[in-house]
Every structure is written in C-alpha cells, then in structure tokens.
C-alpha cells in the first residue's frame, strides 16, 4: 500500500478513480494521468483543464526532470492535484512542493526507511526560500 505524503505527514490514498497512461490522456473520460519523467509537457497542453490529477513518476531520485516538469505544468495553467511518485527522498520534499507538487507518493519500503518525522522535518516549505524573496 503506497503512502501519500503531504505537509501534515503521511495520509492514506484519497484518489479512487482510474489513472490513465500518457497514451490514453486524449480520452475524454480520463481525469487523471501518469506522466513519466521523460515526457514532453507540451503533449498535455490540450488536456490540462479536464485533468484533476497528474502523477509524475520519479524512476530515480537523482533524475530531476520531474521538478521542471511540475513547474512547467503549473506555468501552463494546471491547477489540479500534482503528485510526485516513486523514488523521492524526504530530503527532496521541500523542492517538490516549491516546484509545484502538492504531494508525494512513496511505497511502504521507503516509508519504513524514511519515516514520517523525516518528511515533516522538510514540510515547512516557506522557510528559508530564496526563490520567494526574489520573485515576491
């Protein structure tokens, strides 16, 4: 059972609908989509209004494309739920939130190795943030 991490800590999954693959995103019934790290965000441009959840996959925590993908999707106007899923570290939680993600989805093994307090230690996403000072 995967765990959803939000600012308040570990929460159970609340999305109960189907999650389409990127190939299926044009289907009018799709309201959630899985997006791999190597996707071209422009491919989602025509569907953003319809989507309630976009889940960006992190095959490895060292592959930082997902952060820029998230920021792009927000700049393209996506206002739904944006989730980082896969190999994301507690140490990256603040980066994920500041890049536009709402939450992170991790598996039970990672949650056991990096328990809730390690994520909550990174949940004050507004503290010590150079970006917000430079853009305010």
């Amino acid at each position: 059972m995967n765990i959803i991490v939000q600012d308040a800590g570990f929460t159970p999954e609340t999305w109960s609908g189907a999650i389409a693959t990127l190939d299926e995103v044009a289907d009018e019934s799709a309201t959630a989509v899985d997006v791999p790290g190597d996707a071209n965000p422009d491919d989602l441009a025509d569907h953003l209004d319809r989507l309630a959840l976009i889940r960006i996959g992190f095959a490895s925590f060292a592959d930082g494309r997902g952060f820029t993908l998230a920021r792009r999707l927000r700049r393209m106007g996506f206002t739904g739920r944006l989730r980082a899923a896969g190999h994301v570290l507690a140490d990256q939680y603040t980066m994920a939130r500041r890049s536009g993600f709402d939450e992170v989805e991790i598996d039970a093994d990672l949650a056991a190795r990096q328990p809730e307090e390690q994520w909550r230690a990174r949940a004050d996403v507004h503290a010590h943030d150079y970006q917000s000072r430079l853009r305010a």
């Binding site: 925590f61 494309r65 952060f67 820029t68 390690q118 230690a121 150079y130």
Partner: protein, 559 residues
Amino acid sequence: MYTYTEFDEAFVRNRVAQFRGQVNRRLDGSLTEDEFKPLRLMNGLYLQLHAYMLRVAIPYGTLNSGQMRQLAYLADKWDKGYGHFTTRQNIQYNWPKLGDVPDMLDALADVGMHAIQTSGNTIRNVTADHFAGAAADEIEDPRPVAELLRQWSTDHPEFQFLPRKFKIAVTGSPTDRAVTKAHDIGLRMVRNAAGEPGFEVIVGGGLGRTPMIGKVINEFLPKADLLPYCEAIVATYNLLGRRDNKYKARIKITVHENGLDTFRELVDARFAEIRGEFSGVDQKILAGIEAQFAPPPLRQAETTSFEVRYAADPVFRSWADTNLSAHKSADHAIVTVSIKKQGQTPGDATSDQMRLLADIAATHAYDELRISHEQNVILPHVHKSDLPAIYDALASVELATANVGLVSDIIACPGMDYCALATARSIPVAQTIATRFDELKLEHEIGPLKIKISGCINACGHHHVGHIGILGLDRAGVENYQITLGGDGTETAVIGERTGPGFAYDEIVPAIERLIGAYLNIRQSDDETFIETYRRLGMEPFKDALYGESARSGRAHAA
C-alpha cells in the same frame, strides 16, 4: 563586500543542521549510500582517493581577513595545516573526517561562508573576474550580479538534480579574466547602443573530454532579465540534457546535438513564460547588494617610498614588474601573491601563510582578498606606499615569488596524488617544470606563458586553454602526457591543438624544455610572447622541436 543578511545567516545555519541530520541518517540506514552521495556532494563533500575532501566556496573569489583567518583555522583544526585553492575559486581540504564536517560547516557559517553546491549536479559556485572592482579596464563590478545569481541558484528547487554540473562565470571587463567562454553559462558585461548595461550571454562552453568554446545565445540581455533568462536556460537544459551517458550530459553537448538555434527557440519560449514572475523585487535586492560592493574609500598619500625602493632594490623591482597590475586609481596597485613558489604544489597554502595574508589585508589592503582561478591570492586595493612593507612580509613566509604569468605560474589539478579520477600525476610535473626553469634562470627571459596541466581527461587543470597544455593519461598502466599548443582562455578563447604522440613521465619536462628552447630561438624579438610566436608560425617549428625534423615526412604521410 557583501555581508550576510539575517536571511542568509538563517539559511546557512539551517542547511548545516540538515546536513548534520543527513550524516546521522546515513549512519542509521535512513539513507542508502547511493542516496547520501548527491546530498553530501551538494554540500561540498567528495570522497577522494585517500579520504573525504571538503570543497568550500569562495563566492566570486572574494574574502575578508576574518574569513581568511577562519580558513586557516579549519586547516589547523580539521586538516593537516593547509588548504588547496582551486581553479574555480574554492578552497579544498583534503583530510576531513565525515563526522567532523558538520562542525566545519558551522565554523564556516560563523564567518558568512559555506560549501553549498560546490559539487554535485547543481549550479556551482558562481565565479567572477578576480580583479573585480579594482581593474582599470572594468565596465562594472560583476560581483553584485554574481551574488544575485548565488542567491537565485542556492537550493533552487528545480535545479538540484540536473543532468550534470553547471558552472556560471561573470566578467565585468572586456578583458576576460574569468574564462567565461569555457563555462556552461558565461556572462560578459557589455553596453548597448543606448549605453545601458547588459550581458552578452554565452552558453555551452566547457573543457573536459569534449572541449568546446561557448556560443553566443544572446548578444544583449538587459540586466533586469538576467534571472528569468538564466532560469529559462537551465530549465530547458534540465529537460533536454542527456541522462543516458554522463559524458554527454553537459549543456555543451545539449547545445551541440540540438543546434544553437533550436536551443535558443526553446529558451526564448521558456523565458516568455518565466519573465512575468520577476516583478522587480530581484532588482531591488540587486541594488542593495551593489551598495555593499561600493569600493573602499581609497587613501590619498605620496608614493615616493615605493619609487625609492623600486629604483634601489632589483629583487623588489622584479616582483613589482611581475606581480602588480594596473588599478583604476593610479596611486594604487593590484597585487597578485603567487601561491606557486617553484617546487611547491600549485594552489596549496599553509595556515601560517593564510594568516599572514589576512594580516596584510587588514593592515594594508582595505581588508580585501581575492582568490583567482589561476590559484593565486590577490590583494585588490593596495596603496603603492604600502608595497615595500607588503613585499617584506610576503617574503618572510616564502610568498614573494616573482612569477605571476610566467612559466612557473602553472595551473595544475591535484592529479593522481589526491584525486580518484586522475590517470596521471600533475603536481610533480608542475613542480619539476617550475624548478627546472628556475635553475636555468630563464623564467623572466621567457616572459608571459601559461602552462596548464590536467591529470585526466576531465581537464580540471584547464589544459585546453593553456598556451602549453599538458594532459596526463594512462596508457596500459603507464603515464603518458599529451601536449597541446595555442590554447587561450581569454576573450579570444581557443582550444589548444595537439602536437602529436604523448611523452612518458620522465620525458615530459625535457619535451617542454625543447618547446621553450625553440621559442627562444625563433621569436622575432624579446617582446614577442610564446603565444604570439605560435600564432605567427603555427605548429611546425614546435613539432620539429618535440619530435625532430626527421619525423616530418612521416607526419605528412600519417596526415
């Protein structure tokens, strides 16, 4: 000089606390070794051949005396009493213990310093002209912009896991002393037709195994557009850069494979999206930073004591002729202190030397020091009447070597003596070349010459842009040194050309001696420098000196 705001101070302290936690979480298994690695790298901690190495940032190369004293303190307390100044305005400690590193970082924070993003696939320490704020030929001091870029790039949420490392350099002068064309982004300050300051933006330069001179992506970027434009470049690179092969992951390959025009189109599209997020607050912060970099109030006084000593003391005169540069104020000078006494390790400074430099800066040099990419220490503002006292103090700790810009002022990477990546030794080659020409008493006769040595293909010693570049490789377990000629790291940047087959460890110094001997024979006059002779006559006479004229026909066939 910039002093930390409360925000900067709190940021750095918080970052040290995070790293302390990460070290503990590595030990308790929360983080695997693979996961810990990039986290320690983005805090400056490498695992080297013999031990950990901590690389500390000296942002835009600027230090005050208190900071220099603290670097000496770190060297004594947690290292073996010395530090190594690098080609990217950092200082490296080669022997720290993992458990001590958080305390070292706290000690740095005490003086407004850090080791953040000195390694890893992040935007690295932003470097700048080491004569910034003092040079006679400067348009504007580039350091406020470098500080603004430091703030923007520090912990930038999108850019902590880039395809590969990312280096930015800024120069505010038409004379490029910051090697901007060999950086991922190079910024050269220019003015447009209306006289407004802005930047020529250069992208995709780099040395390493595929050396490339950067390309101009934007001829004039208004100063206020700097952050959104840099963000557009790095965001484009983050998605487009290759992640399948670390040797093809730098932005120079991204630009090369996609073409500059395509890359520019993508950057322009991102820039259009991002520009609006910067409402001008960044420019207000920049104005505040600029005020902090106001030049020190320069002293008015007679310079007679300098002139008297200059006329009377030939050793002082030689040092003054070699190690001083023109200051924007005529009765001041810029002093370059050579950290390369012949036979020493280029860039290594002992804690005693660091403390003496701090004392000199505090007493005679408006409390300012710089570290140059050529691994020397600069006193940027010195009234000429203080030069005799400074010279005597430097001489007392073997820091008065008159070799800046000469044959023994060699850039060398740590090489196989320290580095896990190296394939050959660099430091002993540099030491032997320096000692040899010192014995021959030819150094001043030879004149300006930049020799740069790398101990592997990653080119940390910048050999591609040396007038004479030396690259140490491993050929079936034996060190082999390739020579390149004609490289240039300035505003007229060129990658050096290979002469031909390499030389064994015991052959490389005699080969360099033959090259320089040939130059002395064929130069038109004493004023024609090595690089000028090379540009006039090309490779052939130097090949003859290296391989013998008899090898010429064979070369023709081989070509």
